[in-house]
């Protein structure tokens, strides 16, 4: 039990350090990126007005003080007021978050629901036409740039066949193409890994034993293989969920999807520091939390790795 606690403790400390490093990098990059005040005011604003706004935003204080204030506020979940939207950054991001969650969760669900059976089938029917076709598609999904997958979907499905809208958020038909685009990489990776994990297990002695005692092939796969192949699949599935956050930036831009990825890109162009800090920090926090959760699940599933 001590070993287990120690394992989780180390992971937790690492996660906290990672969150701190991420927020520091965000602070440094955003402060390097120039003065936002001229963007806020008309070009003929008097100098006194510029100074007043800088003071309001705390930009006139020493950089060390700004950093300390920033860390304290971050801990309380306060990222300041959006320069562009003129309301608290957290409120702005919260408004865009549901769209991103809707897209991200749909993409993730699509990826897992499709990829695990495909990978399993590919492994069981190894070297058949089905296996080659599935793995060929997986290779394309893993290597092709997300933005071009999106463009191809728009070109073929929306413009060519006229089946689905080209962008924006609305009913389920608006969701299909962005979700497929965003999920493509995860789907491909999970399918490939599921295939190799299942193949690995199928070579094990206990599978030969199960077959030798006359167990039906279906039961061999269902009872002995999937359970033992689950560990690596759980790991990559969690990791892929994290990479969806990065892919969302591109996908949301291609499909004009009103989520936090597109918000982050636009806020960078607007030099809207508070919103950028908030989106990046939230994304990193989600990513780190997911990784921590995977480690914990892993620790419970596989006793061998606990002592570390």
């Amino acid at each position: 039990m001590r070993g287990l606690l120690g394992f989780f403790g180390t992971r937790l400390v690492r996660a906290v350090v990672a969150v701190w490093l991420v927020s520091t990098v965000v602070f440094v990059v955003m402060r390097l990126s120039g003065d936002p005040v001229p963007l806020l005011l008309p070009p003929d604003a008097p100098h006194s007005e510029i100074l007043r706004v800088r003071k309001d935003l705390g930009l006139d204080r020493p950089i060390g003080v700004q950093y300390a204030v920033f860390l304290g506020n971050t801990l309380r979940g306060d990222f300041g007021r959006s320069i562009h939207f003129r309301e608290p950054a957290v409120t702005v991001v919260r408004g865009y978050l549901p769209a991103s969650l809707e897209l991200g969760l749909t993409a993730f669900a699509l990826a897992v629901v499709a990829a695990v059976p495909i990978g399993l089938l590919s492994a069981v029917r190894r070297n058949t036409a089905l296996d080659h076709a599935a793995m060929g598609f997986a290779l394309i999904g893993q290597s092709a740039p997300t933005f071009f997958i999106g463009i191809l979907f728009i070109l073929i499905v929306s413009l060519g066949l006229g089946l689905l809208p080209t962008g924006g958020r609305g009913d389920w038909r608006h969701l299909v193409l962005p979700a497929l685009t965003l999920g493509a990489f995860a789907m491909a990776s999970i399918a490939r890994l599921t295939r190799s994990a299942v193949l690995e297990v199928l070579r094990a002695d206990y599978i030969r034993t199960a077959r030798a005692k006359g167990l039906a092939e279906r039961l061999v796969v269902a009872k002995h293989t999937l359970k033992n192949a689950a560990l690596p699949i759980v790991t990559i599935t969690g990791l892929q969920f994290g990479t969806l956050l990065g892919g969302a930036v591109v996908t949301e831009t291609v499909f004009a999807w009103p989520g936090i990825g597109r918000l982050a890109v636009q806020s960078i162009y607007n030099r809207d520091y508070p919103v950028v800090q908030c989106t990046v920090f939230l994304s990193a926090l989600m990513f780190i939390a997911i990784n921590l959760a995977i480690d914990v699940v892993y620790g419970f599933l596989d006793p061998r790795i606990r002592p570390r």
């Binding site: 933005f147 463009i151 990193a284």
Partner: protein, 301 residues
């Protein structure tokens, strides 16, 4: 996972493993041959672009805008891949675009490879605070949607070739560092390294003469896989308007420019996009093959 224990792969062991009968054999499969041929073709096309490209890639011809791919257009000129919204020849731009992709991609791989290898070998060789600092930074970087950081840095410094190369290079150092660290950890406790220490060999000598040659094949494998990633990242940044700036032709930028004309002139986006996709697939496939031949223990990293 930091808890996995990778097996060391000294150069002699690789040779032994390769000598054993292997289901795939040592011969290059046809996919890898096609891949290498394709990359060479791209490199030649990029290098010889001024002679190969049928037209000047930036010359506009407003009367021949959005021309369909054709061998003989109305103005008596042939545009194999059509013309774009400014009447520029798409084929010529795709050929010139290969230059940008390969120059940025290869340079970024050199930057990331040198940095990541140095830090990874350092971390493996000097356990303690150096090691934990490097690995914590690596973890933090992996915990970060890097594309956001890249966009932020480029927005600050302004898009240019050097900025792009450094940013894309920085995005890739972690894979080298993590994998090399684990290999060096094992190597440094092996007899041949310890005996050189005992004989009074300096650290620099041990690292340069004995560690680096043993991890070189690993570096080559990671670098190939990283090249595919670097090319895609450059295209993605150019697509978002943060990479190579117009009028210099880059594949990502061309896909972006053609986006508004998808329903009337699909070839503007599709031509560079398909070449980009093929390049990425072919390079990463070559990387997979190199890994299987040079360093099978890396599978699954």
């Amino acid at each position: 996972m930091a808890s996995s224990i990778p097996v060391s792969v000294p150069a002699d062991a690789v040779a032994l493993a390769a000598a054993e009968p292997h289901p795939r054999g040592r011969a290059m499969p046809w996919t890898a041959r096609v891949g290498v041929a394709f990359v060479l073709l791209l490199a030649v096309a990029g290098a010889a672009a001024p002679w190969l490209a049928p037209y000047d890639p930036t010359r506009q011809a407003l009367r021949g805008r959005l021309g369909r791919p054709t061998l003989a257009a109305a103005d008596g000129k042939s545009h194999l891949l059509g013309t774009d919204h400014l009447g520029r020849d798409v084929l010529s731009r795709v050929i010139y675009g290969a230059r940008v992709s390969l120059v940025v991609g290869l340079s970024a791989v050199v930057v990331g490879g040198l940095l990541g290898s140095a830090l990874g070998i350092g971390a493996g060789f000097r356990p303690g605070w150096i090691d934990s600092t490097i690995m914590t930074v690596a973890d933090a970087q992996l915990a970060f949607p890097f594309i956001l950081l890249a966009i932020g840095i480029i927005a600050v410094l302004g898009p240019s070739f050097p900025t792009l190369i450094v940013v894309i290079g920085l995005s890739g150092w972690v894979s080298y560092a993590r994998i090399l660290r684990s290999q060096v950890l094992v190597l440094r406790s092996r007899e041949f390294v310890e005996s050189i220490h005992a004989l009074g060999g300096s650290v620099a000598r041990v690292v340069l003469r004995h560690i680096v040659p043993n991890v070189l094949s690993t570096i080559v494998v990671i670098a190939t896989l990283e090249l595919a990633r670097a090319i895609v990242l450059e295209a993605t940044l150019s697509f978002l308007g943060l990479g190579i700036q117009p009028p210099t032709p880059s594949w990502g930028g061309m896909v972006f420019e053609g986006r508004e004309y998808l329903d009337s002139a699909w070839w503007i986006s599709t031509s560079p996009g398909v070449v980009l996709m093929l390049t990425s697939i072919v390079v990463s496939r070559t990387g997979d093959w190199l890994r299987d031949v040079l360093d099978p223990t890396l599978r699954g990293e």
